[in-house]
């Protein structure tokens, strides 16, 4: 399989592997399209023992909200005179926290719109979707930005094992999949509670264990049983973090020995006799090395970058690298870039709303300034930090190329295009945005448009811009 000519390679490098071209980007990739991408791989992962879970400013905002809410509740129970004032303070603290989450969303989007390392960003977004965490209440929402930035991004070109352990032990994931509340039925804590009259008996919650197996590692056909899920849930008990409102080390990993189910576990035929959180780490480590994991995630990577139904040859190449390197993600990324199947000229991926919106900003050479500019992402069905389930956002064309989805794209484009294009030449912007991928009919339609705004809208809605 031969690679397409250099002009097309440059356009594919920036639009398929990256997040869409900013003016000048395709030209910059032209000399060496594969090298342009490979240069974005790297950055050595931090030492996990010294990393933090959430920045101090966010912890303070959560603490302030928690304290205000507690005081307000106490006052209202005691029917104290200042209950109303305290309620208003609580609302104010909640609003500050919500603004923080909105800023996380805006920063993520604006960064995607301007970054020169767009392949690295797409790669990170792939992992953020693989290890999806969605917002429940305001406090869980406040953990997602830090989770992506501190627990995922630094590890996406490191070993999969480190990324996996980092993701599964961050407060955002532990809250999202209820692990923070799972207690071993024979743990000291549960035993104590059983002696307390009328105390609710705490117990297991299987959610995180199941999703790690099904979605994060070996996949649904990975060969595990219900018994393995339950055993894994037992092993995970105690994996927790310091309360987010704690005075010291808030959000940092903490193993709650009293909640841990004692004893050996057997998962997928392997016995784990470790004590404490070594047990969970040993299991995660083994799952990271399973061939099923290599296969499942290689397929997901190929599906994300190349086609909903990816070429088997590409999946095999990724899988081989994964197994040869025990999941060295920088090597897997290099294999993806080097594979001829990745450079097939036909654009077979339909952009998700988020990708469409980011690439539109990049085409305009602009970036969102205000979170209000992201409102239509919700209408298009893809509000950041709000994936519908732990499976993350759908990948397939069938999920997004819907009648309603297309109308919402049109609505957004109509509002965006005239302002974004300003007094610039849309023909030139179209060449900058698509390079050799710009088709004759689209170029003609843009040339014949009545206004700059209409021309730019046609570019954004064109089939080759909607796909990558």
């Amino acid at each position: 399989m031969a690679l397409p000519d250099r002009d097309l390679q440059a356009a594919l490098a920036v639009t398929r592997f990256g997040l869409g071209a900013r003016p000048g980007e395709i030209a910059a990739a032209h000399a060496d399209p594969q090298g342009f991408l490979a240069d974005q791989i790297g950055g050595s992962p931090p030492d996990r023992s010294s990393s933090i879970a959430l920045p101090e400013g966010r912890i303070e905002a959560i603490r302030a909200f928690g304290a205000a809410r507690r005081e307000s509740l106490e006052a209202s129970r005691a029917r104290a005179g200042d209950a109303e004032a305290l309620r208003l303070i609580t609302n104010e603290r909640r609003r500050e926290l919500r603004d923080g989450v909105m800023n996380d969303v805006l920063a993520r989007t604006a960064n995607a719109a301007i970054t020169p390392k767009a392949f690295a960003e797409r790669w990170a977004l792939f992992w953020a979707n693989h290890f999806t965490v969605a917002q429940g209440n305001i406090i869980s929402g406040a953990t997602i930005g830090p989770y992506e930035n501190l627990a995922l991004r630094p590890y996406v070109f490191g070993s999969f094992r480190d990324l996996l352990i980092s993701a599964e032990t961050h407060p955002a994931m532990l809250i999202y999949l209820n692990q923070d509340r799972s207690v071993g039925p024979n743990s000291p804590f549960a035993q104590r509670r059983a002696q307390t009259p009328n105390g609710r008996e705490p117990g297991l919650n299987e959610n995180l264990a199941r999703e790690i197996l099904e979605l994060h590692t070996v996949g649904v056909n990975g060969g595990y049983s219900q018994a393995d899920v339950t055993e894994f849930a037992r092993a995970l008990t105690g994996v927790s973090f310091e309360r987010l409102t704690a005075a010291e080390s808030a959000g940092q990993p903490r193993f709650r020995r009293a909640a841990h189910e004692p004893g050996e576990r057997e998962i997928m035929g392997v016995r784990y006799a470790q004590r404490g959180d070594d047990q969970a780490v040993a299991i995660l480590s083994d799952l990271a090395s399973k061939p099923q994991t290599a296969r499942f995630i290689s397929w997901k990577i190929a599906r994300h970058f190349v086609a909903d139904d990816p070429p088997e040859a590409l999946v095999r190449r990724l899988e081989r690298t994964w197994r040869d390197t025990d999941g060295a993600l920088d090597q897997v990324a290099r294999t993806l870039i080097a594979a001829p199947e990745s450079w097939e000229p036909a654009a077979r991926k339909f952009k998700t709303p988020y990708e469409f919106m980011i690439s539109s900003w990049r085409a305009a050479g602009a970036a969102p300034q205000d979170v209000k500019q992201l409102g239509l992402l919700t209408a298009m069905g893809q509000r950041p930090f709000a994936a519908p389930s732990p499976e993350g956002w759908p990948e397939e064309e069938g999920a997004w190329a819907t009648p309603d989805g297309m109308i919402k794209r049109l609505v957004w484009t109509e509002a965006f295009a005239p302002r974004a294009v300003g007094d610039r030449d849309p023909n030139r912007l179209a060449e900058e945005a698509l390079g050799a991928r710009l088709s004759g009919p689209t170029a003609t339609a843009i040339r014949r448009a009545e206004s700059r705004g209409e021309a730019f809208a046609l570019l954004l809605m064109s089939p080759e811009f909607q796909r990558r």
């Binding site: 705490p202 919650n205 409102g375 064309e397 819907t402 309603d404 209409e454 809605m461």
Partner: protein, 425 residues
Amino acid sequence: MRPAPIGAPSRRTVLAAAGLGLGLQFVGANAFAAGTRNRFVLIICRGAADGLSVAPPVGDANYVPLRGDLAITEEALRLDGDFGLHPQLSAIHQMAQADQARIAPAVAMPDRIRSHFEAQDRLENGAGHEAAVGWMNRTLASLGARSKAEGLSVGPVAPLVLRGPVPTASWSPGRVVETEARLPTLIQDLYKDDPVLSVAFGKGLQTEATAQAAMSRLASPAPEAQTAADAAAVESAMAQGLSPREAARRTRAMSGSDRKAAHALGQTVAGFMRQDTGADMVAISLDGFDTHANQAGQLATRLSYLDALADGLRTGLGAAWGQTVVLVVTEFGRTARTNGTAGTDHGTASTALMLGGGLKPGGIIGDWPSLQESKLYENRDLAPTLDMRSLFKGVLADHMGVDRRALDTTVFPDSASAPPLQNLV
């Protein structure tokens, strides 16, 4: 504005009309006269809804011991000595009193899997081999020879159950397309060699026009007063960023307006279905039923939303409610026992609801396996007594007129062992 005359209008006519906001039919108008054609709505509760809370088995002696604090007993809305409905399902309870609602309390698809995503796929593709085609789409295909039934999904993301070769419409509330017709026409020209985008975009424009017609009917004075306000509530709740789930998630203090929004959404969808050439088969997804922790509050909010949506459909359909069947289903049930976090984990059988103005009266659909420990599936879940495909097939056969062979072989491949349930409608 009167609908355009029957007959396939040219693409340009369609687009021009859409751009001007005219009332417009779907291309491929339904052959049946309005008022006599049957309609079907599937509501999928995603995340595995807890059947033992949707229709609490209050007469089963094992229910309270298994569920503890999560058991719903005195507050259940009684159906009979054995079953009740969740207290939030008050409108559906009223339907049941009028023989317009029945429960299937121990139903499941044939696969015993506890993965949401795989189970939802099976629920929607009918456990078929064609993984990417939904059974409602295959139903439309098999009806296609005789009628021109239309499919519609609500929401910006298409559910698998409607996906497939027969083009279907999708819609969600939001800002209307108020351009002069020029831009959409030019875009449609760019899509002419792209079969996926041209069909999706063309359908979208048509549906947008139908929506405007449906909404304008809503806003006119109607016996169900406040519909305009309700529509506005839905508009504002969803257009500024709230999915139905979000709307429901807003604090309980707001649940009154959430119910209103859900009710208005139901009425709007009913408006689509009432149009002479509107939708016959509709799929609506509700999510947020995965209640692993603190189930009681979360489930109450979701069920309240479901109840208002169903009531909106009923009132919005008016006389056509008599020709409508609504099935409310979920991918699987939840564990019989409460887990350690005041919630429940993934289980097997759950409850389906069947609603409509023309149901045959009867008790529960299917048998009750009981919650005795020895009867639980794998000593943890309510055991299924009814193959969900039999329920679907019964409705499709007697209500939508799909023939038996198509049901057994194409709509639900290799499903002869799950015969259609009789005497539902």
